[in-house]
Amino acid sequence: MTVRHSKSLRLAFLATATLMVAACGSSSTSKTTTAATAAATTAAGSTAAASTVASTAAAAVAGGSTTTAASAAGTAGGTAGPASGKPFIIGINADTTGPGAPYSVPAFKTVQSTVDLVNSQGGVLGRPLKLVQGNDESDATKTPAVLAQLKDKGAIFLLSQQGAATPNALIQSTGLPFMTVTGVTADAAMPPNNTYGFVIANPLTQWAPTFCASFKAANVKKVAILAEDSATIKYLNGVLLKTMNNCVEIVAQEVAPINSSDLTAPISRIKGDGADAVWVTSSGGPFEVLAFNTLAQLMPSVQKFTLASIANEPDIWKLANKGALNGVVGLGSLNDANVQTQKLREILKADRGADFVPTAFDAQAYDAVMIIKYAIEHANGDTSPQALVASMETMSAYPASFGAPGYTLSFSPTKHTAFSGECGIVMVQFDQTNTPKAWPVYQPSC
């Protein structure tokens, strides 16, 4: 290399080193509620729409202190026709950019669609819902400012669709009811200081027993784990393996960078370990597809499991080679035997086109808006935080738009986590067309 080229090399090296540092920084910001957690939350979602939105629009306001699923749906309506008057403002912290964007954007879009749908069919007590959005880009240091901004814009209710779990103290400081849309860490709704926090997803603590039962049903005794190298997955695996170590023997644990372009090496290491099944734990996306593409080539006959995310990423399924996902089992969310799921599917297809494939993200986003609608109506339009919280606490047996048939959600003054059983989780298995269906071998019971 000439002297001139050496100088160029030094300059380029400095620039590249800076880029590498920047790249590392941007990839390490995701926290405990990433795609995997969001995916899992889908398993626990619920839908207030016992009837279709059309029927909710026509329904009258209910007035009892405790509301059943049917009446919850019935309270949905104001008057038929477009809503008018002063809007009820919902603030949403949605990561439309940043590490959480891949799963936040779909949920945010469905929140928007549902708000539009409600407004087009009479709104809430005849008044429209209005959505104002903040975006902390999964950066916890920005969350306080974003929430304050949403409050300043007049939000009466806050939704969280973000990569970073919001601390209880921060939620309390807003003084507004706060609901996590797809997050699976139930901390925001757990005492102490849980006056305003609500969670609708099945919590992470239910995942490990579900996987243990699934492994047992599939006669799997030795499991090899292939994990992406991220803070989120490290945290999730830590929580899950505490329980799972008691039900299966973990014979290998391989970790690979999240942006890997080849997984031959870790899978070759796993190959000789005598595992009955390989369990891929990642926050989804290309890593997961690459893992199953490679596993299909190198370990075609071994049973494969996935954590959760890929079942909720229809755009990602087409990345997989033909049949590469065939037989993969994981935590999913939607079960077409659930009537509410069928209704949600029809509503979203009408809104987004016949090819749209709803996921748990959509189901929980839809449910979140419908639950807020219920809360406002049940409070007879009183938008004080106390009235809305009290109204939320009366919601009972709310029919979910995901989970097993008949799965419902409920809140009470002592319970701000909405799940009513493990059957909010649906175990799914991919078929030869790389599409997930309810797994016939095992489903969590309620």
């Binding site: 290399m1 090496a265 690459l290």
Partner: protein, 291 residues
């Protein structure tokens, strides 16, 4: 190292890194400049091809032709609209041009994300044939094409650069733009050709490699770093340098996690890159100068 499958992966990765390194090399010897935007060209070609096929229902080969044409135009525009004006204003300053091209890397990535979406798109298989098994290793069509094409391109360019007038012009201009100017050589044209070739090579590499794990608007940054490391390891004294550097890098990417686990890869890469930069900054293949 007795597993053929690992060698196939190492060669596939190495070929990709080598091609990217070659794209760097061409601009380096033709314009005396490290074109960091190489990674962006590669991801743009892969992303545009997939977008045209998946979202716009184009046939594969027209999509490839369009994507490569666009990538080559973008590479040419890099020289005409970014590097040349910046160097003219900065009196040949490499730092200003390097910063501008680094910014261009992000501009292209953001534009690609805005236009084609921020999600990963599936890479396209050039040939619709099942993977073949050779000696215990499974090789996909794209991997095979990647390896064979890489070696063919290196061979062809080595011959062209060493034996043709165009090759000698390229080296002469890259060695010193001012001297080449004084000698009346067509400096601007040669530099432009170097950038166009760089774009073409990076585009081919990107669209072939994107079938491995898909391609997104953010792929370019990592690819730019990988190609750069291939040049750091292999050196730019000989056209074969980027290929050797790429293959060494590919071997590190595959064999280090196989023997020491996934967490060791980045550490080893950093150590190797730092070692080359501090102990042998000219890379494995240094240019020999007769005095």
């Amino acid at each position: 190292m007795d597993q053929p499958q690992l060698w196939v992966s190492a060669l596939t990765q190495g070929s990709f890194f080598g091609l990217l390194g070659l794209a760097y090399y061409l601009v380096l010897i033709g314009a005396g400049f490290f074109n960091i935007a190489v990674g962006a060209y590669a991801s743009l070609a892969g992303l545009l091809t997939s977008w045209l096929v998946v979202e716009k229902d184009f046939s594969l080969w027209p999509a490839i032709a369009i994507a490569l044409a666009v990538t080559v135009v973008v590479a040419g525009a890099t020289e005409l609209l970014v590097v040349r004006p910046v160097q003219r204003r900065g009196r040949g300053s490499e730092l200003a041009a390097l910063v501008s091209v680094t910014a261009l890397l992000f501009v292209i990535a953001q534009f690609a994300g805005f236009e084609f979406g921020y999600t990963t798109l599936p890479g396209q298989q050039l040939l619709d044939i099942e993977p073949v098994q050779i000696g215990g290793a499974i090789i996909t069509a794209n991997a095979l094409i990647m390896i064979v094409l890489t070696f063919a391109i290196f061979l062809l360019l080595a011959m062209l650069i060493r034996t043709t007038r165009a090759g000698r012009l390229l080296r002469a201009v890259g060695d010193s733009n001012p001297v080449a100017n004084m000698l009346g050589l067509p400096v601007h044209r040669v530099r432009l050709i170097a950038f166009l070739l760089c774009g073409l090579l990076a585009g081919v590499a990107g669209l072939l490699f994107s079938s491995q794990a898909g391609v997104s608007s953010s792929s370019g940054l990592g690819w730019a770093i990988s190609g750069f490391l291939a040049v750091v390891i292999g050196g730019a004294g000989n056209i074969i340098g980027p290929l050797i550097g790429g293959i060494v890098l590919g071997m590190l990417q595959i064999f280090v996690p196989y023997y020491w686990g996934g967490n060791a890869t980045n550490i080893v890469l950093l150590v190797v890159a730092a070692a080359f930069f501090s102990l042998r900054p000219q890379g494995a293949f240094a240019q020999r100068v007769r005095v």
